[in-house]
Amino acid sequence: MGPFEDAKPWSMKGIVGVRRFIDKVWKLSASQQASKPAQAAVPALASVNKRTHALVKKISEDILAFKFNTSIAAYMEYVNAATADAEKFSLADFEVFVKLLSPFAPHIAEELWELMGHRESISKEPWPTFDPKMIVEDRVQLVVQINGKVRDQIMVAIDINQAEATRVAVASEKVQKWLDGKQPKKIIYVKGKLLSIVV
């Protein structure tokens, strides 16, 4: 699927992909229900995951810009993260997610919403809001140079120190290829930006 106003080819693969995504959401919901029984107090919004805040921002902007294709990608990414890292996502996160999903996939959203114990149609819910403070980038692209040439870019925590950065960089396959088994002679590190290795 491409941008709304562009011509695009019909794709059966795309349909299968969306179906698989819906199944994933369904499964995620099942695990949510199992691990966090409904009678447990619903955590306050403050406990909503950073990723969820970012998703609210992303989907709201996409809808206004009619960029539905990038919304779908964002949902998928979110569900993958939530599935992989379940303990970091609360029931409150999931509620927000279902609301965000409801304009795109209203049937499953209504069903999940009901399963979460709500009586009214989800369409009557207010659209979730996000806290801009919660959407600070905490990971950055670190440029890795070997003998002055850019050989890789890796995602690292913004406050990573030189030792840790070197460890992550040296572990990268691309970097290993250029190191070719040699030992670093000199390492220059600009925090959160550049790691330059001379061999």
């Binding site: 562009d6 080819p9 409801s102 209504e110 369409s123």
Partner: protein
């Protein structure tokens, strides 16, 4: 928890939504309101196609989002059910259109509902419902009362397959917008809606500015409306005693009037009929008019098609600027529907006139010079003489033989720099030596190079080798060693040993080759160069090898025209050969010439539009009957509001007659009625309305879908209008979207649309992209 059972769950929620109606739009809501509109579909037998859900999904996501953001959202759906698609399907299946339409609507409604869109189904409108089309007819009556609907007897676009007239907007590249059949012309009585009325046309154009629409759609509407400023000029027709008066033309370039060397009138121009009484070649003109009247507009105006025409011998007009008599031609490359249906032809500055003049040998007079023209250089390379003439008395050199001095003189008079170098030992040419001579000359991409005979071969070889770019290459009877004769010595054979660079044609803007009908020896070479250079060939009569002996004189005006005019120059420049206007820039010249025309009383400032009145009648069954009664005493009488709707009679036979009459004309019981004014015997109008009639106002009805007193309660319209977002296909750019804007403005003007909401219906428009086949 089981696997997600989409069928069960979708059905469950669709039923719930149907019962609880969470998407009902509440007129009385205190929330801020938004109107999100989809283009409603026509109910076809095939059901939804993949493009529909794409647009509907987008608007649905947006509507659901707005509701959750706290807006009261009107998001309705309906069916555009009259028209040819439904009727053609009915004809194909032998079922009555009302039955197939109903079936198709049910099927499509079910399909749309199965996708779970959040429409307020309580507001559904169907254009074939008499309660709905009562108001479609009411709008027509209002148009009629306000002088914006009229009957005319004019040749119209006719689709031979659908057997009905078509609006200009429904003819795409000469073909029926619906079925693709080639559109022809037919003359029948028609209802037209005056979309070109001065109260509307400028607003339709200017108000595009305030719309948040895709730029390409706005541009298409602008182009379709096609406003151009210029002058109307009167050319008196002679002989005066024929009583034909003046021939009026519209032109956007009155500054070129001195270059008008002939006139063209469209075959359907009224002057043609009058002229038949006096022209010498009556039969020929009649025959020409007869054949062209059936051609489609596209065929007639296509630049690629060869232009045809006939001179009306025995009449002429006087060009008010030059006072010269010029001939009048009938030619179908001029359309009766554009401007006044007649043009002053300025072949030097209009491509079509140029082609036509070339074909019929009409004079071409240059009256606008390109600004950079004076700085252009022209290089002329002479050919190879059979022997060395340099010792002969009075010999001025090969570069001053044949037509070269004549052409040079005329070019220099126009300020062109001409180089005609003497090539070394030209009777035994050596490429390397010749090359040295030419390399000294300043050649750039603005240069024109002319090569005669061996000079032509040389220049092709040199351009192939140096990869130079030039503006134009003209080869005059060029040679290549095709038939070596006994006088060919090695050095000459070597001179011709080269291949034409296949890329050369891309470095030259234009290539032309001159040959003559009585030239045989170099004909093959000319053909070869023409092929390799993709050159245009000009074949003159009795010019031989273009040497003095063959030509009998040394003037070659055809070459001069080719050098100075690459083709018709339709751009702006400096006026020349235009009397007191010489030296003026085109833009200034236009104003000055119009001032002069007005002073002389032979013309005036004028605005012309491409947009024509909207053909509003269809000779088909499945449409809204036009609510007009024809009375012998009272003329056209509108059906009074209390008698609306004029219901479409339920008949067994609804096949198009193909005669230009609607099938309704055969139902005497329905046709015969009484005049609402005088009570006398009268007949109903039997044409029906086009599909656009129902769709150009449907979004108003959604605001108040059941109102029986008026088209919609203004209070409710005020709640919802204008439409905040309209989503649909770009194919409606000049049809539905232009018609809907016009009708809305009209309803606004008569107070049916409240003043508060403004006179543009769709604030924002989005077009969905096409969905292509699986492989793109």
């Amino acid at each position: 928890m089981d696997r997600f059972d989409h069928q069960k769950i979708e059905k469950k929620w669709q039923e719930r939504w149907g019962k609880e109606k969470p998407f009902r739009a509440d007129d009385a809501s205190k929330k801020e309101k938004r109107y999100v509109l989809d283009m409603f579909p026509y109910p076809s037998a095939e059901g939804l196609h993949v493009g529909h859900p794409e647009g509907y999904t987008a608007s649905d996501i947006y509507s659901r989002y707005l509701r959750m953001k706290g807006y009261e959202v009107l998001h309705p759906m309906g069916f555009d059910a009259f028209g040819l698609p439904a009727e053609n399907y009915a004809l194909k299946t032998g079922t009555h259109p009302s039955a197939t339409t109903q079936k198709n609507i049910e099927n499509m409604r079910r399909q749309i509902m199965s996708l779970g869109f959040s429409y307020d189904w309580d507001r559904e409108v169907i254009t074939t419902d008499p309660k709905y089309y009562k108001w479609t007819q009411w709008i027509f009556v209002e148009l009629f009362k306000h002088g914006l609907a009229y009957e005319a007897d004019a040749p119209i676009n006719w689709c031979p397959k659908d057997k009905t007239g078509l609006a200009n907007e429904e003819v795409i590249n000469g073909k029926c917008e619906r079925c693709g059949a080639e559109v022809t012309k037919k003359k029948i009585k028609q209802w037209l809606v005056k979309i070109t009325d001065e109260r509307y046309i400028e607003r339709l154009l200017n108000d595009l500015e305030k719309l948040n629409w895709p730029e390409n759609v706005k541009e298409m509407q602008r182009h379709w409306i096609g406003r151009s400023e210029g002058a109307e000029i009167d050319f008196p027709i002679h002989p005066e005693q024929a009583g034909m008066g003046l021939l009026k033309v519209f032109t956007t370039r009155p500054d070129t009037i001195f270059g008008a060397t002939y006139m063209v009138v469209a075959p359907e121009h009224p002057i043609v009929k009058k002229a038949l009484k006096v022209v010498e070649n009556k039969k020929e003109v009649e025959k020409y008019v007869e054949t062209s009247i059936h051609k489609s507009d596209l065929d007639r105006t296509d630049l690629a098609k060869e232009k045809t025409g006939v001179e009306m011998r025995g009449i002429h007009v006087v060009n008010p600027a030059t006072k010269k008599e010029i001939p009048v031609w009938v030619a179908d490359y001029v359309l009766g529907s554009y401007g006044t249906g007649a043009i002053m032809a300025v072949p030097a500055h209009d491509e079509r006139d140029w082609e036509f003049a070339k074909k019929y040998g009409l004079p071409i007079k240059e009256v606008v010079q390109q600004a950079e023209y004076r700085f252009k250089t022209c290089l002329i390379i002479h050919g190879r003489p059979s022997k060395d003439h340099s010792g002969e008395p009075g010999f001025l050199g090969e570069e001053n033989c044949h037509w070269i001095p004549w052409v040079k003189k005329h070019l220099e008079e126009r300020g062109t720099t001409v180089y005609n170098p003497r090539m070394p030992r030209s009777w035994e040419p050596d490429y390397q030596e010749w090359k040295k001579t030419v390399e000294k000359i300043d050649i750039d991409e603005h240069s024109v190079i002319v090569g005669h005979s061996a000079g032509g071969a040389f220049i092709v070889r040199w351009l192939s080798e140096t990869k130079k770019k030039i503006r134009k290459l003209i080869l005059v009877s060029p040679s290549k060693s095709m038939n070596p004769k006994k006088d060919y010595v090695d050095i000459i054979a070597k001179f011709y040993e080269f291949n034409v660079d296949p890329d050369l044609k891309n470095r030259i803007n234009e290539s032309v080759i001159f040959t003559s009908n009585d030239e045989e020896r170099h004909l093959k070479s000319a053909e070869l160069y023409a092929k390799e250079l993709s050159a245009r060939t000009i074949r003159l009569e009795n010019h031989g090898h273009f040497i003095s002996r063959d030509m009998k004189n040394n003037e070659l005006p055809e070459l001069l025209t080719e050098i100075s005019l690459s083709r018709a120059f339709s751009g702006e420049g400096i006026a020349v050969n235009s009397g007191q206007f010489d030296g003026l820039k085109s833009s200034q010249c236009i104003t000055k010439v119009i001032d002069w025309l007005e002073k002389e009383g032979v013309g005036k400032r004028s605005v012309n539009y491409r947009l024509r009145d909207w053909l509003f009648s269809r000779q088909r069954y499945w449409g809204e009957p036009i609510p007009i009664i024809h009375c012998k005493n009272c003329g056209h009488v509108a059906v009074p509001e209390k008698d609306l709707p004029v219901e479409l009679p339920k008949v067994k036979k609804y096949q198009p007659t193909g005669t230009g009459q609607s099938p309704l004309a055969t139902i005497a019981a329905w046709v015969n009625t009484t005049c609402p004014k005088c009570g006398g015997k009268a007949k109903r109008e039997t044409n029906t309305m086009p599909q656009w009639a129902g769709s150009n106002w449907y979004f108003l009805r959604y605001c108040d879908p059941t109102n029986s007193k008026r088209l919609a309660d203004p209070k409710k319209l005020e709640e919802w209008l204008p439409v905040n977002l309209y989503i649909g296909g770009a194919e409606h750019a000049v049809l539905h979207l232009l018609y809907a804007r016009f009708i809305y403005k009209f309803l606004y003007d008569i107070g049916a649309v409240p003043e508060k909401v403004g006179d543009e219906p769709f604030v924002k428009l989005k077009n969905q992209g096409l969905i292509l086949g699986e492989d793109g």
